[in-house]
Symmetry: C2
Subunit: 263 residues, 2 copies
Amino acid sequence: MLRMASPRHPLVPGSASVLPVPISARNSAGFEAPAGMTAVPVVLAPLGGRLHVLLVRRGGPPDVGAWALPGGFMSRDERPDETAQRKLTEKTGVGAIYLEQLQTYADPDRDPRGWIPTIAYLALIDAAVLRADESQARWWPVDDPPSLAMDHGRIVADGVERLRGKLWWSNISVGLLPERFTMPQARRVFEAISGVRHEPSNFRRELERSGLVRATGELAKGGLGRPATLYEFVSRQPAWSLRRSRPPATVTRGRRVGTIRSS
Amino acid sequence: MLRMASPRHPLVPGSASVLPVPISARNSAGFEAPAGMTAVPVVLAPLGGRLHVLLVRRGGPPDVGAWALPGGFMSRDERPDETAQRKLTEKTGVGAIYLEQLQTYADPDRDPRGWIPTIAYLALIDAAVLRADESQARWWPVDDPPSLAMDHGRIVADGVERLRGKLWWSNISVGLLPERFTMPQARRVFEAISGVRHEPSNFRRELERSGLVRATGELAKGGLGRPATLYEFVSRQPAWSLRRSRPPATVTRGRRVGTIRSS
DNA sequence: TAAATAGTGTCTTTAAGACATTATCGC
DNA sequence: GCGATAATGTCTTAAAGACACTATTTA
């Protein structure tokens, strides 16, 4: 495969190669090609009871100085999720515990620099890292964000919607809770994400019913009041909840024919 | 914006510009760029009680002659969904009633021709068109497909999963049913998609409860037996079902504090 | 009027909502 | 023991499952 030793971030904001004029590209067959491809992680975390998103200030055009997602250019030999992970690590010093592709934004005029599609990822990092106040980045409440560069406002909104939508139907919250956690702790995280308060005993029942978590038998110590039982996720790999309340019943008696699908 | 009058499909299979060697591209800043960008519609439809996908034979490398999705190259001034629509129309003569972005596949080695990411779309077309047996294309059962070119097998699987997953939670079935339809007709379509048989009276209750459809008051005529009531979708725009059975209850009495979110 | 298909009613089971109550800690 | 927090139990309500039954057409 034809490849050359090229710098990893050909067009990073602030680099000398960034021009106020559009960039174009053509391929070896003579046709116009995308000028580049970017990947952006939408990093979400509950913080102080509210859901926050990690943003950085842009150091170059377009929208210099505006708040934006911490993305960057993909290189030829990198998978897009690797780019998202790498960019995230560069900004926060940690990798994502949970990373899932969100959407690709590729409208012809989305980036004034030229034809530059971007693949967005939903990224969830360890809660313990949240306190590390990196100088380059800042956490913003998703319900009250600053004005964002380009189409990044839309991308954040899509990420939030995905997280909220999957919260009860998958173990996506592995990315938001420590390895071992208590029920009240999980409840507060869920509440911060959805913006809704839950009745503690029902919350417990539902989360247990989901089949996603199990009690370790150990107790959390140190707090006020009765110590809480520690729970852990049954699997830390992406998994679906059992809760997904069912579509209409399958036919039983007379018509029982099993499923139609063959595989 | 710097643009040139370039042909729309720079690298279509079979064109003279396709070489057995990789294609590369570089941008005006001197860095390597994607050689091109493609969009592929995953066209799904129930046919003879089973879910099928529309495939074409590849006319050029890679995998010449293999079955593949009917995708094609994006041009500079086209949105990716427009490309998917256009490619679909070129193959079937119709546009998609429902089109939603699925995933982007951009691994560095996914296409032997070079760095060519592809954006996949889930596309649903009018059921009436299914019978038109276009020479270029063929319907294949999704549960028993042929071997597909490149990563298209994976893409089809992702499309099927999306359709099945959203079936009861959205009005995605607008793309699979005629404008006016009967309950038994809807049931057969749902059964073909999910591969599961439903108890007719419960199916009716659930679909009505979803709030997505309403009875027109008119009756279907012509068939055997009692004529069925015709239904229509309340909205043909993407919409969510009311069914989505709820996460744990919000707190009511003592702790009632409303929602946390501000917006 | 028989066969075929559509549509209604209803009883049972299960899940979810709304608490009251009990348990276990530190001070 | 008291305040604080965690956990359990249980009664009520609502949704879903499993039918039996009724309705309306054509042959």
